[in-house]
């Protein structure tokens, strides 16, 4: 297994108390596989990724438990300089907002080239040549001229391509993409997702795609992990999940998508609001919003039940949910 996250727990100290952002997350990605981590804002999907990458702000963040194994090596106990050697070279991250993730006062050529001077000890000239090659690779027109341009001189879609180029520069084994196309328009989003899928296939990378968009997941993912209030509530191969969700939250999300046959009728809406991480409900965190909730849901935290070898659901009544 390329990456294994086991029972990861992260909390944040805030003025109002401790925010439990990640409460025991377990997932795994293999080489060449795409795992989609789906969740709404505050579900802990990005915090999990930051902890895996080792870029969590500590403090206020704190990892209170769990393991992160990359090719069998425990990352959480590594020294910072050892971690830095892995980060960027063996695992890389693509951020949502390329404009704020890129350095505005350095040319894109310098920023791309830095990957090679820092990690590979190349000369500046060789690194510059590599940068042009990479920009070509992600299909930026006139790469040789544009390598001297600054991030603000590129359009949103082109900037996201530069982010992808930077992430893939050292051919990492694992890429975490945090909402890589959310800031882009649909026609540009399609271009960027296609490019990412193509490069992933070529390099046989493991890809963790963090998103809130059920459409994007259906388009590219192999497996999906649905997060709610810092936990994985359902994990399944993507075809199985869309066919028959085994958790009422997943079912609610799928049902609330506007579809042709529901036009003119009321959309299904999950009642209530996502919980505050300062006050996560007792038992199953989803119970105040769940149409199937019973007494046991208020008291007992559901484990991730095994639905079959490939699927898990953190619902006491997953069988009922699966049957519709």
């Amino acid at each position: 297994m390329l990456l294994e996250v086991r029972d990861l727990r992260v909390e944040f100290r805030t003025r109002d108390g401790i925010a439990h952002a990640v409460n025991g997350v377990t997932y795994a990605v293999d080489a060449g596989e795409t795992l989609a981590v789906l969740g709404e804002s505050g579900s802990g999907k990005s915090v999990t990724a930051q902890a895996v990458m080792g870029i969590l702000d500590m403090p206020p963040g704190r990892i209170t438990g769990g393991r992160v194994l990359f090719r069998g090596t425990e990352l959480l106990t590594l020294k910072e300089d050892e971690r830095r050697r892995i980060r960027g070279a063996a695992m890389a991250m693509i951020f949502q907002d390329a404009l704020s993730a890129l350095n505005p006062v350095l040319t894109v050529g310098d920023q791309l080239g830095e990957m090679f001077t820092v990690h590979r000890g190349m000369s500046r000239r060789d690194a510059r040549a590599k940068a042009v090659e990479l920009m070509d690779r992600v299909r930026i027109p006139a790469a040789a001229q544009r390598v001297r341009d600054y991030p603000h001189q590129f359009s949103g879609g082109m900037r996201q391509r530069i982010m992808i180029a930077m992430a893939l520069a050292l051919e990492p084994a694992l890429v975490i993409a945090d909402e890589p196309t959310t800031a882009l328009d649909v026609t540009v989003q399609a271009q960027v997702m296609d490019l990412l899928a193509e490069l992933q296939h070529e390099y046989r990378m493991g890809l963790i795609l963090i998103t809130h968009d059920l459409g994007v997941v259906a388009d590219v993912a192999d497996r999906i992990a649905v997060m709610y209030a810092g936990r994985i509530v359902e994990s399944a191969p993507v075809h199985d999940l869309y066919k028959a969700p085994a958790h009422p939250y997943t079912r609610g999300l799928l049902d609330s998508i506007p579809r042709l046959d529901r036009k003119g009728r009321e959309l299904y809406a999950i009642k209530g609001l996502p919980p505050s991480l300062l006050r996560i409900p007792s038992g199953c965190a989803f119970h105040p919003r769940c149409p199937m909730a019973r007494d046991v849901c208020r008291t007992d935290v559901p484990p991730l039940y095994e639905v079959n070898e490939q699927r898990g659901s953190a619902c006491h009544f997953w069988r009922e949910c699966l049957d519709g």
Partner: protein, 338 residues
């Protein structure tokens, strides 16, 4: 079709680009809206879709008279409102209200919810007598599904979805006939979007509202709209009923836009045909000659650079009544994208 409540003809908004500080000189203009026509019938929802920078938000601001158009007319019940001022303008504004995209920045953080929703009554005191306002505000909170006891709370005490409900309540306060909603749900979480859409549909029935619903999410627009207009670089390129646009699109831009939307069904992955457009949207300061979409169009020919296609039923469909016969600004309009 019912009698139009709003008619927009040749609407244009250009923003000047200037150079120099003391001796300002105009060096060009941003053509944000560059000739838009549509009508809105009473009780109907017109959806406007388009990518960022296409001018859809500028259209919204023009409709609410927050900005003056460079040219063109907006007729509300037959009267052009773009040249109104003073009392006449104020009277019209009462009937056209706006709901904004961002529920975080569109509510004043230092005002209580009661003051925010009641503020329209300060400006239009004739709408509600002073003693009656608090009761009206509480009624409005109830109508949008919030606890009426929350009148003294501040916006930061609410979630995004709840704030958007506050924004909608403010829009309803003066009992307008038209609500212009500019991306009202795109800042909200998926599970909350459906709640707000349902609320807007319920309010439309209850208060007989007409909506101009602006969004970039095509599936939500289809769900809520009776008719849809597709905008590209300051113009509407295709317009029709939701079925005409979504099932029988004849403009290549609409076709590309629809094909690019990720479908939440993994089974569709294998046999979808996706049109990937090349390049980015051109700058609105420098709009291509002829058809403005031709630089990205997979069908573009020489003629497209020379002729500006009009927004009308394309000649090929004129004699064949059917869903394909709707307004589409393309010289080579066809329901087949290839």
């Amino acid at each position: 079709m019912a009698e139009p409540i709003l008619e927009v003809c040749g609407l244009v908004k250009h923003y000047p680009l200037t150079r120099g500080v003391l001796f300002k000189k105009q060096v060009g203009s941003v053509k944000a809206v560059d000739g838009v026509d549509f009508t809105l019938a009473a009780g109907e929802t017109l959806g406007i879709v388009g990518e960022s920078g296409c001018g859809k938000s500028t259209v919204a601001r023009l409709l609410c008279n927050l900005e003056r158009p460079t040219a063109g007319e907006i007729r509300y019940r037959g009267e052009d409102i773009t040249k109104l001022s003073g009392r006449a303008l104020k009277a019209v504004r009462r009937n056209i209200q706006m709901v904004f995209q961002d529920p975080y920045t569109s509510l004043n953080p230092r005002m209580t919810v009661g003051d925010i929703i009641g503020e329209p009554y300060e400006i239009h005191p004739e709408a509600a007598p002073k003693g009656d306002r608090r009761r009206r505000v509480q009624e409005l909170l109830d109508v949008v599904g919030l606890n009426p006891e929350y009148v003294n709370r501040y916006p930061h005490q609410f979630s995004g979805g709840q704030r958007q409900r506050i924004g909608i309540a403010r829009g309803l306060a003066l009992r307008p006939e038209i609500i212009v909603a500019d991306e009202p749900v795109s800042a909200l979480d998926v599970s909350v979007q459906a709640q707000v859409i349902n609320l807007m549909e319920r309010l439309q029935r209850e208060f007989e509202l007409s909506y101009v619903f602006i969004a970039h999410d095509l599936s939500i627009v289809r769900h809520i709209s009776d008719r849809v207009g597709v905008m590209y670089l300051g113009r509407i390129v295709e317009t029709g009923t939701d079925e005409q646009i979504y099932e029988y699109a004849t403009h290549p831009y609409t076709q590309a836009l629809l094909s690019a939307v990720p479908v939440p069904d993994p089974e569709a992955r294998e046999h979808r045909r996706r049109i990937i457009l090349t390049g980015d949207v051109p700058s609105p300061t420098n709009i291509p000659s002829g058809c403005r979409f031709r630089t990205r169009c997979f069908k573009a020919r020489e003629r497209c650079a020379l002729e500006v296609p009009a927004l009308e039923v394309p000649p090929v469909f004129r004699c064949t009544p059917g869903p394909a016969a709707h307004d589409s600004a393309c010289l080579f309009a066809s329901t087949e994208p290839v």
